[in-house]
Structures are given as structure tokens and as C-alpha cells.
């Protein structure tokens, strides 16, 4: 970033674009033009800063000022005050919710303080549509270093040493996987990037591709070099149009600069990348299904082994990695395995990106060293629960994961710890729930997702999950029995043990984990026919307060099923066995005598 005195970074992530960041960008450019400052101040559209809750975000460099919730109308003030007079515009600074102080430098914000950005290192700092900016941040340096100084085996050795584990959910060591692919001799091999991100609650892969596509392209080339593949494929879901557009631009620029294509950097190594699009099927995220989909087949998984490293795309050795896994690779090669290993926990090195959503104050993407506790993530970075409500649970790992509660808050997060407490890392989605969320309904929700997305090939998953869903529906409607709870548990175990792919092998997890952590809530639904969270409509109870009821009979007259009885001028009563919860009496009562339990 030469010659400019100052840089103004405007978030161009889709979230901020939706709230007018494009207009902010235009206004900035026009305003600088009129003031004759265009040669001194550069305006850059970047990828997502992660702090979407407070977007659109405008950052001024080099003084690191971080403006939040900026509108196009604020632009003039920013230029006049900050750029020209050097005075910060206080009203646009982030306000610390704890003490109401304005914070100018993002480094001091709770949201960023505990974070360490490796995979997201460039997201929000570069213009993803301009390769020069990526290069200024060391893009393609690792590729250059590997091609000139390192043998393929040496690259693999670094990857193995680093302990990097797959971020797509399985947590398989990336270096080991590369080694398998390298060892399988073949005339043609492939590198596949899995960008089919479909876990409910996860959006880190989209942000990486939108904010720093070159990191993934470079890593794929590195993987190709070390495994002996000269062709890469990115399988990206069709729901991500902006990521697709940015990838196309990045691929074109990388080819023009000679980082992709024939004879890369004069090394004799060829590597080209092609895009393939998903078509709205979650199960295609599973690597064998993904490969079948690219082959033009139905996206159904097949039994492993053979693993893709032996027989993958078109039966050739294929290395499949997730977007976030790839995004870590170039930095590891530049800074070394020792450095990477020094971050995180013993068995899970490095950092992990999490997507915070649900009832939490700061939603968005965060990246923290492995081993950070859930408490730090939810309360310090996430800013705690919305509207001062009480934390109840956090669902990690999407439909394959489980929910964790208060007692797990101090568990350091890594692959193995999450499994030990009955959940999963998954792709890193975290959905936070408060006291108003019903855990049985939540489990039902995930099962509904699985039932819909099950490919139908194996019967435990196709039929079993449907039965689980029906049982859960029965319970939320107040018709469940204790035997149903036994059945729920047994069936869950059977589905886990007998399903063909990871989808069915993990889909009962939300049921099992809510049963083990919120057993009381299941019992309450079954024996008391009650839902304390008040979410299960069928279990709502309409009750008349005898003190407030004047006996006007209006409710009894409006009730369509004659569930309300009582003498005129005497308190009325609702027969719960007859009531159909239509809400009519509640709306009719002028004396606020009817309440809903």
C-alpha cells in the first residue's frame, strides 16, 4: 500500500453491503475527490471484519480507528473531522457495554481482545478483488518458497508437524491426509476444496472466500505440489453468489500473475483450478457424496474405504480439504510448524473460527486459539446473552453436534474435549439459547433438518430419523409417554451405529445430548404436559385468575369448544382437557384475567 498517507477501509462483506456500505464507499470517494484528497487517501473495500452486529464498519489506518454503524450521511463528518482535522468522530465509535466508554482502537474492544486471527488474517484488511493487496499481505509467498526451496515431502513434513486438523468437522490431521494422497501413485490426481458449507449456524467458509480467496487458491496449489496433483476443483454451494464471484476474479488474477496455470513461477509445476457448483443438497458436503456430485451422479455417500486419497474423483487419488483448513496452510508454511504448534492445545493446534448466532449480543465470526473456554467465547467476546436474559445452552456442531450447558462453560474448546462432553466441533457454528428456548423443540428442529437432508440411501438414516422426528413431535404436543423416551434413546443408538455416512452416524446427537443435559425438560413435557419455556404451542395452558375475573361470561361465549364454565358474576374456569388453545378467550377478556402458562 504505497504512497498514500491514510487508508479508509470499508467493509464490503455481504452483510454490510446490505446495509449500504456501497453508498458509503461512493460518498467517500466523491467527498475525497471534491476536497482534492484522492491522491493522499486511499479508499479500500474489504471483506468482512467479523463484527457484523455493528456494521457497516469503517476503519481508518494507520491510527486504527474503528467506526461502527456508519451511514452514508456520516461520510462528510468523517472526512471533515477525522481526515482533515485529525479529530475522531466520537459518536461513531464503539461503546463498551460495560462502562459506556467510547473505544477507538479495535484492539481494545472485548470482541477483538481475546481473538487471534490466522485463517481470517486478511478478512477485513484487504480488497479481495485486488490481488496486489493480497500480495502485500504475503499471499503466494509460501507457494514461492515451497516451489523454490522445498521438496513436496518437505512441505508435507511441515504440515504433519504443525498438527493442523481438518476444520470441516472430522478433525483429521491434514498433513497425514496429504501424505496418503502423495503416496498413491497415479497418472492423474486431484485437489478438492470443500466449500459446500451447509451446517446450520456456520458461515466461516463463505466469509473466507468472500474476504480472502487467494489464501485458499494458494493452499490448493501447495497441496497439489506436495501430493503430485495438477488439477484443483472447488465445490461451492450455489447459495453463495458473492463468494463465487470473488473466487472467479481471484482465479483470473492469479492466472495473470502466474500463480496458477502452467509452469508456476518458472518451476515447471502446473496447477489449474476449476469451480463446480452445488445444487442445494446438504449431504453433498460429505466428501464421497461431494465427489459423486462432481462426477455427475446423485450426491449420495459411499462406504469408506476406499478413501478419496486412494480412489476419489474419477477413481483417481483425491485430497479433499475444507476451506478453513486450506486458509491456514500458507501461514503455516511461512511461519513454520513450531510457531503453529505453540498456539492452541496439545492435540488441537492453532485457532478455530466460530460463527456466533442466536441469543447472543455480538453475533458474527470470531477466531480464537483452540483451548479458549466457552465462557470466554460467549461472555467476553460474544458480550453475553441478549436482553439480559439467562444463558441456557449453546449448540455446537450443527445437526451432528450437541448442546452444552452452564456446567460446560469452563471446558477448553478443542476437538477432543467437545466430543468428550457429548458434542462436536463440527464446522464451528455456535447457536446460543436462552431461558425462553425449549430444548425438546430444539432437538426436533435439528431432526427436521436431518430428515429433509438425508439422501435416503441407507434405511437407518432415512427411516430412523423420521421416527425420531415423529416421537419428538409427539412429545412436544404433550402426547408422549415414558416408553417413548426409552424408544427415543434406543433408536438414537441404533441409528448412530448402523448408518452409512457421517450424517446418520451423528444425527441423533442433538437428541441424546438434550436428553442427558435437560432430562427434566423431557419429563416435564411427558408427565406434566408442560413446556416451561413456553414454546410448545400445544402445551400452553390458558388460566383464569379468579381474583380478576368478574364473571362477565364474554370468554365463555366466544369459546368455540365450550371449554369455559362458570355462573354469571362468578369467576369462570377453563377445562384444560377440552381447551384447544385458540387464544379467543385471551383476546376477548377486557379485565386481563386470563393468562398463558
Amino acid at each position: 500500500m504505497a504512497n498514500y498517507k491514510m487508508h479508509i477501509l470499508v467493509c464490503g462483506g455481504t452483510g454490510c453491503r446490505a446495509s449500504q456500505s456501497e453508498m458509503i464507499l461512493d460518498n467517500l470517494k466523491t467527498e475525497l475527490e471534491t476536497k482534492g484528497l484522492s491522491d493522499e487517501i486511499q479508499v479500500i473495500q474489504t471483506g468482512c471484519f467479523g463484527f457484523c452486529e455493528k456494521g457497516p464498519i469503517v476503519k481508518i489506518m494507520p491510527d486504527n480507528t474503528f467506526y461502527v454503524e456508519v451511514t452514508p450521511e456520516d461520510v462528510k463528518e468523517i472526512i471533515d473531522e477525522h481526515i482533515i482535522k485529525g479529530r475522531r468522530v466520537n459518536r461513531l465509535l464503539y461503546v463498551n457495554p460495560d462502562n459506556q466508554e467510547h473505544i477507538a482502537d479495535s484492539k481494545h474492544m472485548g470482541f477483538y481482545k481475546k481473538q487471534l486471527r490466522i485463517a481470517l488474517r486478511n478478512c477485513g484488511f484487504i480488497d479481495p478483488e485486488n490481488i496486489d493487496e493480497a500480495i502485500a499481505k504475503d499471499a503466494y509467498q509460501a507457494l514461492g518458497k515451497a516451489l523454490v526451496e522445498m521438496s513436496p515431502d518437505q512441505v508435507i513434513a511441515v504440515m504433519k508437524d504443525s498438527g493442523l486438523r481438518g476444520r470441516g468437522g472430522g478433525g483429521f490431521p491434514a498433513g497425514l491426509k496429504w501424505e496418503f494422497a502423495a503416496k498413491n501413485a497415479s497418472d492423474q490426481k486431484y485437489v478438492v476444496c470443500n466449500a459446500d458449507e451447509g451446517d446450520p449456524g456456520a458461515f466461516m467458509d463463505r466469509s473466507i472466500l468472500e474476504g480472502d480467496p487467494h489464501s485458499v487458491l494458494e493452499a490448493m496449489a501447495l497441496c497439489g505440489y506436495s501430493t503430485g496433483a495438477n488439477k484443483g476443483l472447488i465445490y461451492i454451494r450455489a447459495e453463495y453468489p458473492l463468494a463465487i464471484e470473488r473466487l472467479k476474479i481471484a482465479m483470473k488474477q492469479a492466472e495473470e500473475y502466474g500463480f496458477l496455470g502452467k509452469d508456476i513461477l518458472g518451476s515447471g509445476f502446473d496447477f489449474e483450478i476449476e469451480l463446480r457448483y452445488g445444487a442445494g443438497a446438504f449431504v453433498c458436503g460429505e466428501e464421497t457424496a461431494l465427489i459423486h456430485s462432481m462426477e455427475g451422479e446423485r450426491g449420495e455417500p459411499t462406504v469408506k474405504p476406499p478413501f478419496p486419497a486412494e480412489s476419489g474423483y474419477l477413481k483417481k487419488p483425491t485430497n479433499v480439504n475444507n476451506v478453513e483448513t486450506f486458509a491456514n496452510v500458507p501461514v503455516i508454511l511461512l511461519k513454520g510448524a513450531e510457531w503453529y504448534k505453540s498456539i492452541g492445545t496439545e492435540k488441537s493446534s492453532g485457532t478455530k473460527v466460530f460463527a456466533l448466532a442466536g441469543k447472543i449480543n455480538n453475533v458474527g465470526l470470531i477466531e480464537v486459539p483452540m483451548g479458549t473456554t466457552l465462557r470466554e467465547v460467549i461472555f467476553e467476546i460474544g458480550g453475553g446473552i441478549k436482553d439480559g436474559k439467562k444463558f441456557k445452552a449453546v449448540q455446537t456442531g450443527g445437526p451432528s453436534g450437541g448442546c452444552l450447558t452452564e456446567k460446560h462453560l469452563d471446558t477448553p474448546i478443542d476437538f477432543d474435549n467437545l466430543i468428550a462432553v457429548g458434542s462436536m466441533m463440527g464446522s464451528g457454528g455456535m447457536i446460543v439459547m436462552d431461558e425462553d428456548d425449549c430444548m425438546v423443540s430444539m432437538a426436533k428442529f435439528y431432526l427436521e433438518f436431518t430428515v429433509e437432508e438425508s439422501c435416503g440411501k441407507c434405511s437407518p438414516c432415512r427411516i430412523g430419523n423420521k421416527r425420531l422426528y415423529e416421537l419428538l413431535t409427539k412429545i412436544t404436543e404433550g402426547k408422549g409417554t415414558m416408553e417413548d423416551l426409552d424408544l427415543l434413546r434406543n433408536l438414537s443408538e441404533v441409528i448412530k451405529d448402523t448408518s452409512l455416512c457421517g450424517l446418520g452416524q451423528t444425527s441423533p446427537n442433538p437428541v441424546l445430548s438434550t436428553m442427558s443435559n435437560f432430562w427434566d425438560e423431557y419429563i416435564e413435557h411427558v408427565t406434566d404436559k408442560k413446556c416451561s419455556a413456553g414454546q410448545c404451542a400445544a402445551l400452553k395452558q390458558y388460566i383464569i385468575d379468579p381474583e380478576a375475573c368478574v364473571g362477565c361470561t364474554a370468554c365463555a361465549r366466544v369459546c368455540p369448544v365450550n371449554a369455559i364454565s362458570g355462573e354469571r358474576k362468578m369467576p369462570h374456569e377453563i377445562n384444560q382437557d377440552i381447551c384447544i388453545k385458540c387464544n379467543a378467550c385471551f383476546e376477548k377478556c377486557k379485565f386481563n384475567a386470563i393468562s398463558i402458562n
Binding site: 452483510g15 446450520p200 450455489a238 457448483y277 452445488g278 462426477e295 455427475g296 460463527a355 439422501c455
Partner: protein, 154 residues
């Protein structure tokens, strides 16, 4: 409208008359005309030397490869957990009211099809919907009304 035959030929030319070309071809046809009809699938089967049942079987596996006509604008509202928690039901109701259709249906003027879909990766900005390729986040009743009116006007 480009001829389906030409679309097929263009893809076959760059990928080859191979099975791997099937998805890109089907996707290209859907992009062009929003859905695949029987004739299209027969043509694709001939070009790639596959059985028509095989082509149909593959196409119907994928939600985005429609085999019934869809409107000019396909609206997909996310119905997954975060968007549900953020109130997507009201959004769906508003759309049903506005367009006078039920889920899965297309308006009589063939302009809009209303559907639901699973998580679209905007969970922190729910409720969200996709209208063709454009994503709309943090929807409210008023926002939806405005968005749809803008589409109706165009």
C-alpha cells in the same frame, strides 16, 4: 432465449460428452430458463449417452434443479434454526399474503415462486431470504413488502 441444444453443445465442447458434464449442463439450463422439462432432459441424455431415467434421477436429487416450471423470481426463505428463532414465520406469512400463494406455489402471472430452504449461511443476520441470486438479511415485515414491491415494479 438461447436454445437448449446450443447450451448443451457449449458445455460438451469444453468438458467433453462425459458424465461429469451432466451437472454443469443441467445447471446451465436451469440458469437460462429456471427449470428442466422432459424434452430438455431427453436432449441431455442423448448428448451424454445416458438413459433419460438416469438424468431425471440425478436432477430430482438436487433441490435447485427444478423439474417443474418456476416463476421468474424464486424466493427461498431460510427456515433453519437461527432464522426460525429470529422470526421467519412472520416473513413467510407476509410473503404468502402479498403473493397470494402457498409454499411451493407460483403466482398465476408466473413471476414469483415461494419456497423455503435450509440454512444459507446468514444465521447471524436472520431472518433471511434469497431471491434468485440476491440475498436479503435481517428481514422485517415492512422490509419484505418493500422488496417484493420493487420486484413487482421491475
Amino acid at each position: 432465449m438461447t436454445d437448449v441444444k446450443e447450451l448443451i453443445q457449449a458445455k460438451v465442447k469444453c468438458i467433453g460428452a462425459k458424465r461429469e458434464a451432466l451437472m454443469p449442463i443441467l445447471q446451465a439450463i436451469v440458469e437460462e430458463k429456471n427449470y428442466l422439462n422432459e424434452e430438455d432432459m431427453i436432449q441431455v441424455a442423448e448428448a451424454l449417452d445416458l438413459s433419460t431415467a438416469d438424468v431425471y434421477g440425478t436432477a430430482t436429487f438436487y433441490t435447485f434443479l427444478d423439474t417443474v416450471p418456476r416463476g421468474k423470481y424464486v424466493i427461498r426463505v431460510c427456515k433453519t434454526i437461527s432464522c426460525h428463532m429470529a422470526g421467519k414465520d412472520e416473513i413467510v406469512d407476509t410473503l404468502k399474503d402479498l403473493l397470494k400463494v402457498d409454499l411451493g406455489e407460483t403466482t398465476p402471472d408466473k413471476n414469483f415462486t415461494l419456497m423455503q430452504a435450509n440454512c444459507m449461511g446468514w444465521c447471524h443476520k436472520g431472518p433471511v431470504m434469497l431471491v434468485n441470486d440476491d440475498i436479503y438479511t435481517e428481514l422485517t415485515k415492512d422490509k419484505v413488502i418493500k422488496i417484493i414491491h420493487d420486484y413487482m415494479g421491475s
